[in-house]
Symmetry: C2
Subunit: 339 residues, 2 copies
């Protein structure tokens, strides 16, 4: 059995709650599934001190020493080049040297993106690996691809996002024939900026996706598409508005309810139901943002990840690797074996 386990490298030092929550998440992942082995990369004594708090199968978590840490404020390209012994660089090298199958980090997004491209490497034929988080909608989930990796892209990049997103939603989320839509400023044919207008006919002609046309942002939370395609700048705005509007509204509702006695009583009555409903909108349930199109999976977990989200990101790696998404993308979009 051992040799079939997926090996996930985990950046023990990245994220607001590192190393505590990261180490705890790794332990939870190992205790919750037989399918995974973990290489926890970070300052050995620090990581081991955290691990000492828990009971788990010691043969399935290995600590790999890395003495440096890349901070969020650092320039990603410089940090990757200079900090050769950082947890992020050391972990990514494990993927490159086939000592791990996938990587999870809650550290600097920029460093994850630069390292993914430079160290883990792109599948030949994939030009711009996007970040594609799976997000909740009123009717299920959708992948938002790209949510921030590539802020200036060409139309052919967007077509690859659509294709890779379709593979992901089919293989990981089990959606047959996922509906692909491009984010646009209206549903009419003449709408769109120059990039969208150029991309639209290419998506229409693309034979291996189920393109349903434009999606206005107002219909994204409603769940009108399974694969929501856009450049990384627009995707970041979609993602952050989703989070921001939700946060602001819930704060306002809470404030309103707590401002009166009858409100407090009513609030106590519905708290449990609302919490259950909210869980459906909790992005951490679905793990982090996968960086898709690399030779191996890299998952960027939220900077604020708690142990549960780290665990879910690790499980996401297991599922992705078991389903051989990379192999499927390579077969469909790779140029390695093509003339």
């Amino acid at each position: 059995m051992d040799n079939k386990r997926i090996i996930v490298a985990v950046d023990a030092m990245g994220g607001d709650n590192a190393p505590g929550a990261i180490v705890e998440g790794a332990v939870m992942a190992v205790n919750g599934s037989e399918d995974v082995e973990i290489k926890l990369v970070g300052k050995q004594e620090v990581v081991e001190a955290e691990l000492a708090k828990y009971t788990y199968d010691k043969s399935r978590i290995e600590v790999i020493n890395a003495t440096e840490i890349i901070e969020t404020a650092e320039k990603p390209t410089l940090a990757i080049r200079r900090k050769k012994d950082s947890s992020l660089v050391v972990a990514m090298k494990l993927l490159k040297e086939d000592k791990a199958d996938a990587f999870v980090s809650a550290g600097s997004t920029g460093a994850v993106l630069v390292g993914g491209n430079a160290i883990v490497g792109r599948i030949k034929g994939i030009e711009r690996p996007p970040l594609g988080p799976v997000l909740p909608s009123a009717t299920g989930t959708f992948i938002l691809i790209d949510c921030g990796a590539n802020v200036d892209v060409r139309s052919d990049h967007l077509v690859q996002f659509a294709q890779m997103g379709s593979i992901y939603m089919k293989e990981i989320m089990g959606i047959e024939n996922p509906r692909v839509a491009i984010v646009n400023n209206g549903a009419e044919e003449e709408k769109g900026n120059a990039l969208v207008k150029e991309t639209f006919p290419l998506l229409k002609e693309c034979p291996d996706i189920n393109f349903i046309g434009s999606i206005e942002a107002i219909r994204i939370p409603a769940g009108d598409a399974d694969v929501v395609v856009c450049d990384g700048f627009v995707g970041n705005v979609v993602l952050k508005m989703y989070e921001g509007v939700g946060l602001t509204l819930f704060k306002e509702i809470k404030k309103t309810i707590m401002s009166s006695l009858h409100g407090k009583i009513a609030g106590a009555m519905i708290k449990k139901d609302l919490k259950k409903m909210m869980k459906q909108y909790d992005a951490s349930e679905y793990g982090g943002s996968p960086m898709i199109g690399l030779n191996k999976l890299v998952v960027k977990s939220h900077g604020s990840s708690d142990a549960k989200e780290i665990m879910n990101s690790i499980y996401q790696c297991v599922q992705f690797t078991e389903a051989d998404i990379t192999g499927k993308i390579r077969a469909k979009l790779g140029t390695e074996n093509k003339a």
Copy 2:
């Protein structure tokens, strides 16, 4: 007094609820304020039949006959060129010929934008008049400029948006020294797509605005800036995500509450408070989206506008014209009197 009244032309035939809600809104505006006269433009007999339902000062609403209607599905440029006797074209000509001071339409956004540029005309020196709706935030309001008029823009256009938005928020919303921010995919210096990176230093150098830097979309609903600057494509995504997330969340909360008896009881207890809170987030309270930078104000009201929103859009026209925003923009940004 009569000669000091602001004359607002209103498109009686545009919008989902035209002509009923439009005519009702015009009557409400006249009955609620002494400062306004209205020219209702549309099919004379239809508009007059609607007007016959109400009591109002007949000297302050004039019906101007226009036999055609521009539909939302029509190509804006063609429609403006061909339908010379449409309510929209006839009304805009009133502005051009100085027979009205401002214009409100809930009709086709595309036609309003094309007509605004082609018939009402731009202030000399303003290249791309943006749409700038005032939206609610957790701490007040902000102007989102551009929310959809110009999907492909240059950096110098964005600088004009920032300047015009600042004038609007100061003069109309009474905010001294409004905080200007550009929508970006992160707060760090190296963030941004090519357009944002090019615009950032120009905004930093611009002497007549209070530029505070980048704003991530997550901080927009929180109210971190008074003037939120972006291209019209991104602005449309911000606006529609705002509406879409709000709609979806409230639907889900309602569904959750109504799915149990204790929920229904609690819901009845807090309904009134929540409705009051929601009113703060009701965009129609602030009127429609002003198209700023034209020789006279054109306001695009929501397609779904009810009478109250039309009334508020008309009052927006009065305030804008009385504050002489056009004159102030011309003085600051116009090139008419410059070498």
